[in-house]
């Protein structure tokens, strides 16, 4: 994580990959007790990954890493339970997906639709995220292609990711 804070993308990616497995197991264990399936666990895990990313400046390297992750994961789970309570009360039984999703392999699709979410942020942010985060262009390439300054691209990516995290945390299951 410390390397990730300094901008080491490879170390950060490895960390997120490991955390995603831990968090998936954690949320599955927690959610199964209240009758929710692996898709919800995947939703929640992705939401926490985004939260970890957009709030990574609140991690203090002098402190332990696990309590920090746990604090975020717990907060997001309580928040998730609070906002989905009513819609889940209406369901007589949990999703049919729960039956078919017995194999515990990675790669379940969450209910989040990235393209749909991207539609909801401003065009500038959408373009910046598309170029820099999804297409993997460097900031200067993205700046040249979109006609924005480099710092404007950075700001747009930063704000766009925050906006996406907010959208994900507000999303109600229909």
């Amino acid at each position: 994580m410390v390397a990730g804070l300094d901008g080491d993308a490879a170390a950060y990616k490895a960390l997120l990959a490991r955390l995603s497995r831990n968090l998936r197991a954690y949320f599955k264990g927690q959610l199964v007790r209240i009758g929710r399936g692996p898709v919800e666990a995947e939703d929640l895990m992705q939401e926490v990954l985004m939260a970890i990313h957009t709030r990574r400046h609140t991690y203090d390297p002098a402190q332990l890493f696990t309590p920090w992750v746990h604090g975020i994961a717990r907060y997001k789970m309580l928040d998730y339970l609070r906002r989905t309570k009513t819609s889940f009360k209406d369901l007589p039984i949990e999703d049919a997906e729960a039956v078919v999703a017995q194999d515990d392999v990675e790669g379940i699709e969450s209910g989040h639709d990235l393209d749909g979410l991207l539609e909801q942020v401003s065009p500038k942010m959408r373009q910046a995220i598309q170029y820099v985060k999804l297409d993997g262009l460097s900031v200067s390439e993205a700046a040249a292609r979109s006609g924005m300054s480099e710092s404007a691209v950075k700001v747009s990516v930063h704000r766009g990711l925050k906006a996406l995290a907010v959208l994900v945390s507000k999303r109600q299951r229909s």
Binding site: G4, L5, D60, E109, S110
Partner: protein
């Protein structure tokens, strides 16, 4: 969305981030909020005029000392509360002790033999002004604190909101102290305490709405 895709997106072109920024944001919020409110006080009720004797300055100093100690203890808690995994309760304990001590001091400082006078002192003509001004002077620091806190990751919104209200209330009280014409520890302990507690309760109510992320 596949998780792998999300992880790829998040780690592509990763920007390095600074550390220890939250303390700076909170300090900025407190200083800016306090300064703005001080100007607001100068523009509205104005500072206390005349009678600049030593006992008045002594009372002003004791009011400020009380308010600032609440601000500092509360700010330490706020910094911890926006860092997940660090939120402890010790600062809250310290705060309660502080408030209790101020209350006790107010009671014991009643001039000896005048215990019967307590209602005259507490319900002095000024108590309404005090109770209105302090919450009013709290609005700007509270808004500034909420803005700063939203940059962090508070995980207990109600508690964080309450302490934000408390700290902002103490800033409001510190500013009001420059106007306050009352020089009685009992009066200060009761009405400053009530006003600050009021701000803390409002903060607890608003916290879950304003701080959610």
């Amino acid at each position: 969305m596949k998780t792998d895709r999300l992880i790829d997106a998040l780690s592509t072109n990763l920007e390095p981030v600074g550390r220890g920024g939250m303390g700076r944001w909170l300090a900025l919020a407190l200083v800016a909020g306090g300064a703005l409110t001080f100007c607001m006080m100068l523009a509205t009720v104005g500072p206390r005029l005349g009678g600049d004797n030593n006992s008045h300055m002594g009372f002003l100093a004791s009011k400020l000392l009380f308010a600032l100690s609440v601000v500092i203890t509360g700010a330490v808690f706020l910094i911890r509360s926006v860092h997940p995994g660090q939120d402890g309760r010790r600062p809250i304990l310290l705060l309660s002790i502080l408030l209790l001590a101020a209350g006790l001091l107010g009671v014991t400082a009643l001039p000896s033999g005048q215990l019967a006078d307590w209602s005259r002192i507490v319900f002095d003509a000024q108590w309404m002004t005090c109770l209105c001004c302090i919450p009013l002077f709290t609005v700007i620091p509270f808004a500034a604190l909420i803005l700063a806190l939203r940059k962090g990751a508070p995980t207990n919104l109600r508690r964080t909101g309450a302490i934000a209200g408390l700290v902002a209330g103490a800033v409001g009280a510190a500013v009001y102290a420059f106007h306050c014409p009352q020089d009685s520890l009992l009066f200060i302990a009761v009405w400053y305490g009530v006003a600050i507690a009021l701000c803390a309760s409002v903060g607890a109510l608003l916290g879950p709405r304003l701080l959610r992320w």
